[in-house]
Subunit: 312 residues, 4 copies
């Protein structure tokens, strides 16, 4: 496997530093399977009901020491309405997505988790609970990843090979532990609109990038939530640009859908309309992240990121 | 009364766990009265002027120890302009809504409260004051519910059978006290787009669900308030999805209108336009929440939620 | 002068409590001068450059003890560009507005203040500095109102008869002092879409109401500022509703324009387009607030608000 | 060089104080090179990867003492995708911009910095690090400006003559030091829609004004980020007004584009569409800020701002 530090500056690219990627630009047929011009990958978080008991959701915090009755019902919506509605949407368009499953949420909603996989979607790792990973000890991390992978496999029949951390934050050990456990990709890097590698010791792990832009947890937050129609417009605009760039290099569009957020009616309509819009274009391919990672592992023109720096 | 834990995954539904609801999907004619395809229920909060004296409304907090003169006038708008304008809107479209009345606001505005009921709307419970219920003692809660029901009945001639808590938060005793006092439903559960049951000891109480999405207090907040037009679009988009789902199962759309918020001109226009839009569709029915609760109590295909957990 | 506590509930209004206002509804020709169906009154704040030195404007606060160089330049825009651009806009449409002038800002920008009045606009009171009035002693308040009125009169030739407090907040003495000094109206009450009276001891003072909705300082705040186009839509929607209501009772629309906010190009365009839109409708009248107050003082169908309560 | 304190009030301008600028209004041909009616100047910040290690970017802050892995990847996007995509956009429209380069970011991304200048854009100063300048000692400031200018010159071959401070805030010594070092302009004044002068001791320095309105760091902030389409509309609306004003006086429109913000696909599309819109109008000129400063220095009708006041 050969790593290139790719910098892309379009044409004209006269200077030496860009010659490697310039070469790549003439090698379009290797960007994606089926000569796709753009790959879109949707993440569907399966995590509600596993949230911390103190989590106030979008509500003002209440006085400590009293159990909250409304936030749990708001999260429960993700399992009652959100995931089922989203599953029907993916079926309508015949696309497969990646479901980032919190182990505890799978335990609490086993039939629904099983149904996600039965319909052809990827069960991917998302921790055992909503506890941040960055401050865990290595032992805690390893135990958490093993336990959640075991639960997901037991319930759905599929062992996860991908990972998404709580708020995307890793400890210095996260990636080494994931590699040791057989994971082949993570999504917790926002630096590119295409897959890449994160160095891990002498080796590396695939990044199938996540998004902070096309992300319902960012754009649909509480009283500042944008409309579904506005979100739809953003998705279309991003699509237009990446799709055009896709004739010259490997481009990927990432979209995030959290059970209780993207799963409400107006927001499902936005996704429905976007998918229909994207499919009107030729050579657009929706892919699960495990399939993307496997494709990427066979290519030798994938950028590698600088090693992470955990020193002060 | 037979309770089903309904999970809805559309077609195809091959696995056993979903057979009960799958059966239900063939039983459309029992979803709603008059074969309605979608029921819309509007909540009109009648609560301004009863707010806490320290409540700053949408204004920056002021130095303690000085009475505020502007927030009270902002709240007063709800009674001077908001409720009257909304009442005229409901009349224009010949629809009946549920008014969640704070007891103290009824005491302070008796003629207006009486007019709400005179025009055919439901007087429902919303506490005696704006004090949160979740931290009350059982005695305080019981006294508050009795007092506010007495006042509402005395002023409007109608005794409330429904309840909405301050910020939707209950104490462990709320529902048992409500049942004891003859209330038949509450709205403080956001987990479904249809009515359901909350278990209360060995019994249960109907949930006619409220909304945090189609809610003016969420979407029209201070300097981040969305436009009326944007809110209208959200309502239309939600309607489109629920209306379509309504051919296969019981679906309900909830909308919230607070006196001083939804009652301003541009926002009344948004509601006006939305109601007109909804009424262009066949088999759409606007219902008061007490009528919904009574209908639901006669049906045996209503989902029951998991018991609430008040342990740590 | 006869005061009516007007409550408006449209038709049908059968019950006795509403008979007074119901009578009023048949008396349309007295609502406004020239048989206007709707009066629009624009407030133009003339206050930048007088802000507190510590005022960070829309910027993140900086470390204490260092003078700030950017916020002053941002405020200065109001005098360099905002007021001149707004003045040209009013001229273009041949409308007169009310300018709420902070005394200190008049001292610092005398030529521009004079020009405002020279073009036919009202010089109204807005305090001597940006110090909140609600926590002043009566002596401080009186001195402040006299000083700022003297300055405004000296510079512009016009002595103010109206008042707007900092963030609309009054002390228990504000209105009595204003009356004593000959002011005839204030704008610091948001409870109605029409003029009314605030009781002051045994007398009263006219309210020409301000707005928190059509207010650039609310809708154009920092990073959550709405677009000019969205603001325009809100204004149009509010106009549509009040204009229609204006056939049955006295209705007034208030719009606020702060020098450094509403005076930027895209926002001036929004106001330009709105005024053009309003003027396409017959019987729409733009009025200064002093003219409104004088009209109102001659009418006997003006609602009076409940006395303010300054007790704890 | 003759300084005029220009106040602009359009026509009619009868009073003496405005005669100087009134004269100017008849002297249109001197406003801009090539008889341009409006000049647009775009700032492209080149600063990501030099941010402070503790900088959380748009993410919720994490527990202290643990390195963050996600914010650095989010910033890295600016260099991987943002700058390259923006560079291609400028090329597509054949316009030259000003790139405000943080010295440390140039050190970390030398090939990309060199490419910016190779394509004809201006390398301008933006500090050596992200440390605020306003609280630096004079020695720290001087050392910082020299070091960053040296680095930029060494890497790109161009020595900066312009300056943009961190959050636009200067110390009392900033401008004198810049002048001493040969800088000819700064952008840290928001008070006008045209160039002006800031007095520095007995001399002055050109202001090529920056923007807080057409600024991606303001309008695209975290969960309240507006859509690209809405931003596009704001730009068009501002353009329309300034373009029209440009027939009567010197007008300039400023737009800001930060690597990791404006460089994402939907936002590049907004800029692309805006530039295309602007270019449909005759006599619109895109200029680098150094070229603007040099033009201004040859004119004698440039307003001078009041001296800054650093006393308490």
């Amino acid at each position: 496997m050969k790593f290139l530090k790719t910098v892309w500056l379009g044409l004209p690219l006269a200077i030496a530093a860009f010659s490697a990627s310039a070469t790549e630009l003439n090698n379009k047929d290797t960007f994606w399977p089926d000569d796709a011009q753009l790959v879109i990958s949707i993440s569907m978080q399966f995590e509600a009901t596993a949230q911390d008991k103190q989590d106030p959701g979008p509500f003002p915090a209440q006085e400590a020491g009293f159990p909250d009755t409304i936030a749990p019902s708001w999260y429960q919506y993700g399992m009652n309405e959100g995931i089922p509605r989203l599953l029907n949407l993916w079926d309508k368009h015949n696309i497969k997505v990646t479901s980032h499953m919190v182990g505890r949420a799978v335990e609490l909603n086993p039939e629904l988790a099983k149904e996600v996989v039965r319909r052809g979607h990827e069960a991917s790792g998302h921790g055992q609970t909503w506890t941040p990973q960055y401050s865990m000890t290595p032992e805690e991390e390893r135990a958490s990843y093993i336990k959640s992978a075991d639960i997901i496999e037991k319930v759905t029949g599929q062992r996860p090979v991908g990972f998404n951390a709580f708020w995307m934050r890793h400890s210095p050990n996260t990636l080494a532990i994931l590699k040791e456990l057989g994971f082949i990709y993570h999504i917790d890097d926002l630096s590119r609109d295409e897959p890449s590698y994160t160095p891990v010791g002498d080796s590396s792990i695939v990044v199938v990038p996540y998004t902070f832009r096309n992300n319902d947890i960012v754009r649909y937050t509480g009283s500042t939530a944008m409309t579904g129609k506005a979100y739809l417009q953003e998705l279309k605009d991003e699509f237009d640009v990446l799709y055009k760039e896709g004739t010259k290099r490997r481009r990927m569009m990432s979209i995030s859908a959290h059970d209780r957020l993207a799963g409400s009616p107006a927001r499902v309509k936005a996704l429905d309309d976007f998918i229909a819009y994207a499919k009107q274009h030729k050579a657009v391919k929706f892919m699960r992240k495990d399939d993307i990672a496997k494709w990427v592992l066979k290519k030798n023109n994938v950028p590698i990121n600088a090693p992470r720096n955990f020193n002060n």
